[in-house]
C-alpha cells in the first residue's frame, strides 16, 4: 500500500530536498516497515531517525495520521492505506 511521509526542513538534505515522499509498504504495513523501505533509498535519513537497533530516536516524533506513534504501538503501529506519517523533531535541548 502507499503511504506518505512528511520530512521536516532540517532533514531534507538527506532526501535530496524532498518535503514529502510516497512510500510503497508491503503488508502488514507498520511504521517500522515504512521506515525500512525509506532506509533503502535514503540511508542518511534513516540514521537520523533510528539507531542501529532500528530504535526510534528519542527526540524525533512520528505522527501517524496526527497521532504520535509512541501513544500507539511505536514502530509496530499499523498503517492504514494512504496513511500520512509526519516526522517532527521534538522540543529538546537548551
Amino acid at each position: 500500500m502507499k503511504v506518505t511521509v512528511l520530512i521536516p526542513g532540517v532533514l531534507r538534505a538527506a532526501t535530496d530536498g524532498a518535503a514529502h515522499l510516497d512510500v510503497e509498504v508491503p503488508d502488514p504495513a507498520t511504521l517500522g516497515a515504512a521506515l525500512d523501505v525509506l532506509a533503502d533509498t535514503y540511508p542518511q535519513l534513516d540514521r537520523r531517525l533510528r539507531d542501529e537497533r532500528a530504535g526510534l530516536r528519542r527526540y524525533v516524533n512520528f505522527y501517524v495520521n496526527g497521532e504520535e506513534c509512541r501513544r500507539l504501538a511505536g514502530p509496530a503501529t499499523p498503517l492504514p492505506s494512504g496513511a500520512e506519517i509526519q516526522i517532527l523533531p521534538s522540543v529538546a535541548g537548551g
Binding site: 537520523r48 542501529e52 537497533r53 527526540y59 523533531p89
Partner: protein, 359 residues
C-alpha cells in the same frame, strides 16, 4: 608557521588559526547544534580533521574534513554501529589516530563503553569484541557524564598493544590487538567504594603517554594524579606538589617525556579551580614537582576544563591550549609560560586539538 586549533563544544565546532599563536582568527560554528566531544587531527597522510559529532535529536556520527573545515564528509551509513542487540551508539568520546606505521588506523572510544577500529582513516569502524565481552563489563558504571571509553593510548611501536581508560571502570590494557584485556589499576584509589583499592571500577579521567617512553603513563583520576613506570602494571601518586588532586585533563609535552600539564580542580564536590584562579600546572620532572602557570590567565574563573579540552601542538617550541565549560579558549606559544585568549563566549568546550599545518 600556521597553527590550527579545533575547538569542539556542546553546540558545534570552531576552528582557530594563527601565524604567531598570539593573535587568532576563529571561524564557526561547524556542525552547529551538535555536540563535539571528540576531535582529532590526522597528519599521517595529508591533514585530516575528524570530529565525533552528536545531535541531541538525530544521533551521533563521525564527520571528516580534508580541507580544514571548508567541506565535511559524513558517510550515509553509520560509521560506528554496535553489532550487538543490547547497545546502540550514544556518543563518540575519543578519536585517536594510530602511530604513523599503521596508516589508516583510527581508534574510537564510545558511550556505552566500547572500542572501535577504523582501517580506512575514520570512514568506517569495526567493533572490538574482546573489550565488549570482558567479564567486568556488567560492573562498569556510568559516571556523571555517562559510561564511556574516553581515552585510547596506542603503543608507539607495537600495533597489538593498546591502553584504554573508561569512566567508570578504569584502565584496561591489551597486548594482542584487542582480543583480550586486563584491568590495570593497581595503586589507583577509588575512594567512592567501600573497598577503595578494587581491581577495576576506578574513575580514571585521562591517561597520557609520550612515544619515547612507552612504558610510562600519566593519569588524572577522579581524585588522584598518578604515574606508572611499568606499562600500567602499577601506579604511584604524583599529586604531592599540586594544590588538589582532582581534575580531568592530562597532557604530555610532545618532545619531552618528563614534562606534563594538568588543570587542577578543587574537588569532586567543588568543581572550580582552587580559589577560582585559572591556572595550568606543569611538571618538568615527571610529576615530582609542579609549577603553577598563570601569566595571562584570569582570576575569578568559576568554571572547569574537561578531560579532552587541553592539548599541545607539535611545534619545536610547543604551544599549549585549553578550553573551559564557560566557552573560553587560551593558548600559550611558549610551553605554558604566557597565555593569550583565543576565543570567548563559545558554548561549553569539550575537546581541543591543535596542529601545525604542514607546508
Amino acid at each position: 608557521m600556521t597553527v590550527v586549533v579545533a575547538i569542539g563544544t556542546r553546540k558545534g565546532l570552531w576552528l582557530a588559526r594563527s601565524e604567531d599563536r598570539v593573535s587568532w582568527q576563529v571561524d564557526g560554528p561547524h556542525h552547529a547544534m551538535q555536540e563535539v566531544y571528540a576531535v582529532a587531527f590526522d597528519s599521517r597522510a595529508g591533514l585530516r580533521l575528524m570530529a565525533g559529532v552528536s545531535s541531541p535529536h538525530f544521533g551521533p556520527g563521525v564527520s571528516i574534513s580534508d580541507d580544514l573545515g571548508a567541506t565535511w564528509e559524513e558517510s550515509s551509513t553509520p560509521p560506528i554501529a554496535f553489532p550487538v542487540e543490547e547497545a546502540a551508539l550514544e556518543r563518540v568520546w575519543q578519536l585517536q589516530p594510530a602511530p604513523a606505521a599503521q596508516p589508516g588506523v583510527v581508534w574510537a572510544g564510545t558511550q556505552p563503553s566500547a572500542l572501535f577500529k577504523s582501517s580506512d582513516g575514520g570512514r568506517s569502524f569495526e567493533f572490538v569484541e574482546g573489550l565488549w565481552n570482558h567479564p567486568h563489563r556488567p560492573e562498569w558504571e556510568a559516571g556523571f557524564g555517562g559510561q564511556a571509553v574516553h581515552t585510547i593510548v596506542p603503543d608507539p611501536v607495537d600495533p597489538d598493544r593498546l591502553l584504554v581508560a573508561m569512566s567508570t571502570g578504569g584502565v584496561y590494557r591489551t597486548a594482542d590487538g584487542g582480543k583480550s584485556w586486563e584491568a590495570r589499576n593497581k595503586g589507583i584509589k577509588a575512594y567512592f567504594f567501600p573497598d577503595p583499592w578494587p581491581e577495576f571500577g576506578q574513575c580514571v579521567h585521562k591517561v597520557a603517554q609520550h612515544p619515547a617512553a612507552p612504558s610510562r603513563f600519566y593519569a588524572q583520576n577522579h581524585h588522584g594524579v598518578y604515574r606508572s613506570d611499568d606499562g600500567g602494571d602499577s601506579w604511584q601518586s604524583i599529586a604531592d606538589g599540586l594544590p588538589t588532586d582532582f581534575g580531568f585533563a592530562m597532557v604530555v609535552h610532545p618532545h619531552d617525556p618528563d614534562t606534563i600539564f594538568t588543570f587542577p580542580i578543587e574537588a569532586d564536590g567543588r568543581r572550580f579551580p582552587p580559589e577560582g584562579k585559572c591556572r595550568v600546572y606543569r611538571s618538568r620532572d615527571a610529576g615530582a614537582t609542579w609549577q603553577a602557570l598563570g601569566e595571562g590567565l584570569p582570576d575569578d574563573f568559576w568554571t572547569a576544563v574537561m578531560r579532552d579540552a587541553m592539548c599541545t601542538d607539535d611545534a619545536e617550541v610547543p604551544g599549549v591550549y585549553f578550553g573551559s565549560r564557560s566557552g573560553e579558549v587560551y593558548a600559550s606559544p611558549d610551553e605554558g609560560e604566557t597565555w593569550h585568549r583565543v576565543a570567548a563566549h563559545l558554548p561549553d568546550v569539550m575537546s581541543v586539538r591543535a596542529v601545525v599545518v604542514p607546508t
